[in-house]
Symmetry: D2
Subunit: 340 residues, 4 copies
């Protein structure tokens, strides 16, 4: 490995471009030097040139097997993640993989075994752990300042629903959206979840019912350490990306509001008008994406434990599955039930 | 009835004194002229003199049957409420009764029948409906400005647990504490609850387990209008009385924070220190108690529907019972199950 | 003096009624038993009956000389204050007097001499010192927590201008409005002002120029302890009564925002709408008026120094005069210049 | 000019590095290709390599005269600005110059004449105009929504004083610090200043008196459009960079608070602890620096008026000079007095 970590990027969609640009612009110790994108077109090539990525290809194998590559960023569609992890691990590359690893537990376990066997580092893309706000909540809880956590609360609402076609293949609200919040819940509580209970409804767009999906949901959690939790999700917060967390503890409570577009107040006879939360994840979590990539580079370069492990990736999928069963069968579901 | 509504006060505990003082100090159209308190002592007498209540007695009957009395305020222990409602109704007095009406559904129904038969006005003491903050949330939802409600959220936490002996007889967290929030949920949603699901734990003081009670709980709600809801309760918010409500709707979200001790900010190298929520309900809901009593006086004087009815009192008890079953049996409970 | 402090009220205008009602409703240790109002009419009599004031009269002398009166509240027009203080002092009554004592320094000094000679207690009605917010700012500074004060800032804006006729006789913006802020500045800084510098303009209503008055003004202050200060005033804050104070110190800064109508937030695609400051002084300073009266009753009953002295009343008038000269002559004015 | 604007950077201190890095990382339409730094050392060379700047030199002339250079960023010490502007203009390069242009009016005028003669674009580095918060205040005022501005208020406080040696050569608080606020005042008011009045004191560090400088100051402003203004400065806000602006208008008020380190609240029995403002200008104005450079690139590329002109640079120096005289002579100073 040279002094600079050479990275190969797999996938040139929205999230791939975001990581590619962030690394080459903001992380001195790493450089994206190869890109593979099966649907490669001129726009991709132009983007790669501007981002300073010299080599582009249609074939992921060109990246996996390249001798000059130390690590890969897997930013391709979810159903390719497990395969790419296995290939990259076998090629001895360190791996950053976007969430979720896969929606099938068997495939996830295969991927994690390949990683373990190869002894490479794997980090999963739960970017919210790197947000200054949520991190402050978690660090405050972890510091012990407030005593034991009693109640973990997460509000997580997207500004607008994704296209209906996306919903059809995404695995549903629990798997594509609340999965972030399941990870956040474990992160904030410092404990595994023992049991979940879900309620949900199609309140924004009835057509989503054909996919047996919901667009609004509340899930309660019982943690192994005794704490309780609750997550609410909505696919439509017309005022912006609403991402708030709160932990009520023995001696007090820590919570975070949203980052706002600006800190203005306009006072008139009609009221006091303030700005809305930042619009969506590209705005709200921009700095978090950079911190996330930096932490991966640091883990690889300095042979540290990555801050979000393969196990974290697995546990959040278990939680999404359990919530799905709970909603469908209208009953509490113990995590042990889906983990057997 | 004279121009001034003459009121008889039943019970001279904390809440009785509060209503007595408020009415005589702040409500020109009404006057507390009689007090009955079975444990009557000198302190009660002194208080009554200062509050301008000329007649005091040990026997509630002295108040019920007094010709100069137009209405009674029932501020005695919960287990006396139903009897006093029946006696007052039979005496033709209008009735303000503190919550809950009773913990036994049969007794509540008897009381409501007596009220209906007598044609008197009955208002139940869900004071939070009169708080400027929660009322603003509800009025915003009811105005239709934000479209249909999707998600009703209530955080309700006491600053410190009551004495253990109180817990032993109170009916438990759902009946003595969350009952306020059940009423608030119905008030905010503008809909009845169809189903509840409760999780709870004894996290603050383990001794509460001997009463099969919990001190921390989260209850999810499904409303008849399709909306979802969630209430969280804690018996110990060391920073003060934490009372927040939020309704996420089709077109936006309305929420309210707490009233604070003051609006100061002290900025130092260590951080920015603001004040806490007001300490407890006597501070936070002081103005709401006055507005509540005023609304009762207005309803009686002008023969209006009282803003909180006997049915409201009954429904909140159903909800508390359903939550209790849900917690005990770890399953969803339809409201129809407890209402049969 | 009986156990209860018997108070005579002079003047039954807005502020007189406010004090009368507050004392009889909220201060157990005192009672307004007499009222004198030269323009006495039926409305005044009805009000007095409702407020529990048994004796009413047209002649202030009936109050001053009444044997059963321990103290008077002077709530009459400004030009009568000095005379009434002198008469009350000579009759041996303790005195609460609304601000300003008088606009003429000679008359003020006469009044203070009479008070001193009689050995009665005199408190001036600078009610803002009793507001929970400003008091917190001052107490934080006085505690020494933040080190020496460097910069005192006061924003003080009325929701709407008074009638033009009022302006004609009020003594102008510095004497009728900023006089509160001059007192606040001295209170917060814990120091006397040495020099003032005023700028002002007629921006809201040009007709005010005929009275050589302004409706918008900024005054800088140099304090004897070296700190600097600045006050801004506007006669028209269409969003409500805007009353903010701030002290920037060696080790940090303490500031206070306004009390709001409620703590709601309504988030939509258009923005986040919060409530405005309380509308005017009757709303914002209601609790402060009660605390103020209570402090006077306490000072008289327990023979303490009153929290706002005759000297405080005098100093604020000096400051208003100095600011007037500064504005007119467009130059700095040392306080010693008007005090000689 | 190629499609990409080629930029030469003059000066490799803190602000030079900031602009260099921002342009090469975040502005696709421009590239810093040359750097001149008279004190060039290995650290500078390493930085340039990492930032992607291929050519480095000790001699500014190497940048000025390079054929491949379209524009220069002058980030050298203040006393070189005028010379570099003149040289760059004569070489036909467009110019971005950090504030202030110079502390000597004659030298500024020479520089502006050279720019005019050469027909190149000159933009001055008043970065705060590009901050999302202040820009929102200004845009709200400029929109006319609130009617005419009456009162412009600016609080601007550094977290800690610069080294004493810096103060000795900086031109003093008005020239090196408040100059930003003078520009902000003109920007917010949409009007020129007609008259200033300054008070100031050495409250943080007495040694500053030897330079006849102050570390705390309040300056009032009269604008040509009739509005009033006030700026307060402190060299030591121990809680972070305090940068607030406010415009009180005919129909309401617009103001902005600070960007905070995060949006957390920690509630305990001791109070509610929030985060402080971002520490200093590199944190607070990071995005504004990028927007500023982008606006310059846009102005040059599309031949637009630059958003901050040479005249803006000149006017702020006039204001600093006038404030200096006002402080020294303890009197109001008309701007016409220093502009003749």
């Amino acid at each position: 490995m040279s002094n600079i970590l050479n990275i190969g990027l797999l996938g040139c969609g929205r999230i791939g471009k975001l990581h590619g640009r962030n690394i080459n612009a903001s992380i001195p110790g790493a450089k994206v030097v190869r890109l593979a994108e099966p649907m490669l077109n001129d726009a991709h090539k132009t983007w790669a040139a501007e981002a300073g990525i010299p080599a582009v290809s249609k074939d992921p194998v060109d990246v996996m097997n390249a001798k000059d590559i130390d690590a890969v960023f897997i930013c391709s569609p979810t159903d390719t993640h497990a395969d790419f992890i296995i290939q990259a691990a076998e090629a001895g590359k360190h791996i950053f993989c976007e969430k979720p690893i896969h929606t099938d537990i068997g495939r996830i376990k295969e991927a994690l075994r390949a990683v373990e066997k190869a002894g490479v580092i794997l980090q999963i893309g739960f970017v919210r752990r790197f947000d200054h706000n949520h991190k402050k909540v978690r660090d405050t809880v972890a510091s012990g300042l407030l005593g034991k956590p009693h109640l973990i609360k997460i509000s997580s609402r997207d500004p607008e629903p994704p296209p209906l076609e996306y919903t059809a293949v995404s695995g549903g609200l629990f798997m594509d959206m609340m999965i972030h919040d399941f990870d956040m819940a474990r992160y904030l509580a410092g404990s595994e979840v023992a049991e979940v209970n879900a309620v949900g409804a199609a309140l924004i767009d009835e057509r989503i019912k054909q996919y047996r999906d919901v667009d609004t949901a509340v899930v309660t959690l019982k943690f192994e350490n005794g704490a309780l939790g609750v997550i609410d999700n909505s696919r439509a917060a017309r005022y912006g990306y609403d991402q708030r967390t709160e932990v009520h503890c023995e001696k007090g409570c820590v919570q975070t509001g949203n980052d706002l577009i600006d800190m203005s107040m306009i006072s008139t006879a009609e009221g006091v008008l303030c700005e809305r939360p930042k619009w969506f994840f590209l705005d709200r979590y921009n700095d978090a994406f950079i911190a996330e990539a930096r932490s991966f580079v640091d883990a690889v370069t300095n042979r540290k434990e990555p801050p979000v492990s393969g196990k974290d990736g697995l546990m959040s999928v278990y939680l999404a599955l359990a919530a799905g069963i709970s909603l469908k069968e209208n009953r509490s579901v113990k995590l042990s039930e889906v983990m057997r």
